[in-house]
């Protein structure tokens, strides 16, 4: 045989690579944003305000978590906002027709899950169509069904306790923040520590080789899209609770915001790359930046320009650094 060769099984600590990681950049930006906010607004460092700030942007963050998986698969899901609308509308409509709220919530989660499952099924069954195409179409269809159900009505008047989801506190911490942290940890573990997560990365990098290696490619994709539908329904719960009522045009254009957060978090749309922590940092970065700008009453158009420029500048800087290294 070949001369015996000894291979190292120790990951050499490469300081340069370690510190070039995108997440550091995000962390740096996050710190910078916080310092800046605290400097320019006397209200920012108020504990109650900071606590409430998270409530204002966390609703859509729930979808960012599974969207990370979707994008790592080299797919995309643009139907999420419509799924939010449909689940929310179904829940409200059922409740207004006399279904108990608890059951309506379960059906809401089920509806979202089903929407995700249908996306996944179409994508797997019709491999000729990419996820962009399928979800672009179901985006229209799900929103359309929401309109068919509620027409021009708003539905609401939920029981008092339902408001707790979006507005309540547990031991002084917003309930929504607690739930988000739990889901974030679960998704982080799922992606980084389990066979399922490894399969997701493998498929994103090379679906053919994954198939040949016995990775259940279709099943993994189905599950990821189903999870996305489920998390969209979770968002629907919190968002509906925050609004106290719902209408078919709820969560309009959320999909682009969610994708923007994932992508800013270093999840490459080319697939196979990125980490959960990056996306979570990006959620807080954009959320707190917006909140800070809101506190000093920067107008909407300037906010748009600032956030757009930040997105590009951050990525450009990291690209330049990487190219130099």
């Amino acid at each position: 045989m070949m001369e015996p060769r000894v291979l190292s099984d120790r990951k050499a600590f490469d300081a340069k690579r370690f510190f070039l990681q995108w997440e550091w950049m995000l962390l740096l930006l996050l710190v910078a944003v916080n310092v800046m906010n605290a400097q320019i607004s006397p209200y920012y460092l108020d504990f109650a305000n900071l606590r409430d700030a998270t409530m204002a942007f966390l609703d859509k963050a729930f979808i960012v978590l599974p969207m990370v998986l979707v994008i790592i698969l080299a797919d995309i899901d643009i139907s999420v906002a419509s799924t939010v609308a449909l689940s929310s509308v179904v829940m409200a409509d059922l409740y207004n027709r006399g279904v108990p709220m608890e059951l309506a919530i379960v059906i809401c989660l089920l509806t979202g899950t089903l929407c995700g499952l249908l996306n996944g099924w179409l994508i797997v069954r019709y491999r000729e169509l990419s996820a962009v195409i399928v979800t672009l179409i179901t985006m229209i269809v799900y929103r359309g069904i929401a309109y068919v159900i509620l027409e021009d009505q708003a539905a609401g008047h939920f029981p008092e306790w339902f408001g707790f989801l979006g507005w309540g506190y547990v031991a002084g911490v917003p309930f929504i923040l607690i739930v988000f942290v739990i889901f974030a940890v679960l998704f982080g573990l799922l992606l980084h520590k389990t066979t399922f997560g490894r399969h997701v990365y493998a498929i994103g990098n090379n679906p053919t080789a994954s198939r040949f290696s016995g990775v259940p490619v279709d099943r993994v994709r189905m599950i990821v899209f189903t999870l996305t539908g489920f998390m969209a329904a979770v968002t629907a719960l919190f968002l509906t609770s925050r609004m106290g009522s719902t209408r078919p045009n709820i969560a309009n254009m959320y999909e682009l915001e969610v994708i923007a957060m994932a992508v800013l978090g270093g999840i490459s749309t080319a697939g196979g790359k990125g980490r959960m922590i990056g996306a979570i940092l990006a959620v807080f970065l954009i959320g707190l930046l917006r909140y800070g700008l809101g506190l000093i009453n920067v107008n909407a158009q300037t906010q748009l320009i600032i956030i757009g420029s930040l997105l590009i500048a951050a990525v450009a800087v990291s690209n330049l650094r990487r190219n130099k290294a």
């Binding site: 000729e128 985006m139 359309g144 682009l256 450009a316």
Partner: protein, 349 residues
């Protein structure tokens, strides 16, 4: 090890006629794609006509084409972007920015020649597109991020420049709104511009070196670099073209509706992408035909035109629109699959 007679034997074993037949068959299949979609469009048209006889009147077809013109021009640019494996989410914002600046300029100088207005809008779009192209090609920022970011920036600029105001019909000279209502050679100007754009694109994409190289870059970027194709320059060019077309459409849009707003064409990018996708442009890059994009835009234009004509509840419109698009896409897959299956059955084993 191997010797000559064998090779000759093998060469004889290959039927000489088979190759040619196989080629013509595959060429046939490729044409079939657009034909299938076109068939779907025709079928839908007949169905609508049956429900509302005013659908296939000259006037309505003119309206339909006029309304689909802007969409179809934008879809051309988007096709090139998608062919290079990119996407441009900023076109709605670029369109609004160019429309707003042009409208403000025109309202300040009512004597301005419409041609100058068109050029101004196109130039603004070109500038926006070039900037984007620079981000994508030189800085290597993923198209989805770059265009998402610039979408916000352009939209914000539009609001800022207009100071929150709209430019209304009474501020626009007739010569300017005439861009959308006038006609050239008896054809409405909007439709005429779209026809010219399609002719130019057909030539550009199929008969020029640069056009084909854009497809090469989308088909295999690494190979393109190895064979010395100027990938960066082409990427830049593609976004610049997209920007210029958005700018042009900004002027057309404002002239057509005789009003410029900050939120003009918000979310329109998704409609344009849908038209491309329906027309068979592959998100994976390298594939997309001018004829397909035309049919895709027509289908969307037809849905927008026909649904108000059918007396369906307005609350059902979105769902029906989505359902029809889904059906069209699935029908295409089914046709393709059955052709593939026949192809396999015919193969001699």
């Amino acid at each position: 090890m191997a010797d000559k007679p064998m090779a000759q034997q093998a060469a004889q074993a290959v039927p000489s006629g088979g190759a040619v037949r196989r080629a013509s068959l595959s060429v046939h299949i490729m044409r079939f794609r657009e034909l299938g979609l076109l068939g779907f469009v025709v079928l839908l048209a007949l169905l609508v006509q049956w429900r509302n006889p005013s659908f296939l009147t000259l006037e309505n077809i003119n309206d339909l084409l006029r309304n689909a013109a802007i969409l179809s021009i934008l879809a051309l640019g988007m096709m090139l972007v998608i062919v290079t494996r990119g996407i441009d989410l900023s076109i709605g914002a670029t369109l609004a920015l160019s429309g707003m600046i042009t409208a403000l300029t025109v309202s300040a100088n009512p004597g301005m020649h419409p041609m100058a207005a068109l050029l101004l809008g196109t130039a603004i779009g070109l500038a926006c597109g070039s900037l984007l192209g620079w981000f994508v090609a030189r800085l290597g920022i993923l198209p989805i991020i770059a265009t998402l970011g610039m979408m916000n920036v352009f939209r914000g600029l539009t609001f800022t420049i207009s100071g929150g105001k709209w430019v209304s019909a009474h501020q626009m000279p007739d010569s300017f709104t005439g861009i959308a209502t006038g006609s050239i050679l008896g054809i409405n100007t909007l439709i005429f511009i779209a026809i010219v754009a399609y002719a130019v694109f057909h030539y550009f994409v199929n008969h020029t070196r640069t056009g084909r190289q854009i497809y090469a870059v989308g088909s295999n970027p690494e190979a393109a670099v190895i064979s010395g194709i100027p990938k960066e320059r082409l990427l830049w060019l593609v976004y610049a073209i997209m920007g210029a077309l958005s700018g042009l459409c900004g002027v057309l849009w404002v002239a057509k509706f005789a009003s410029a707003q900050g939120d003009t064409a918000m979310g329109y990018e998704l409609t344009v992408i849908a038209a491309c996708v329906l027309g068979g442009v592959s998100i994976a890059g390298g594939v997309g035909k001018v004829s397909g994009v035309l049919v895709g835009s027509l289908l969307i234009g037809m849905l927008n035109n026909a649904l108000p004509l059918l007396n369906v509840s307005p609350f059902w419109q979105t769902a029906i629109q989505g359902g029809i698009i889904l059906l069209a896409v699935l029908a295409n897959v089914w046709v393709k699959r059955s052709v593939d299956r026949n192809h396999l059955l015919r193969r001699r084993i």
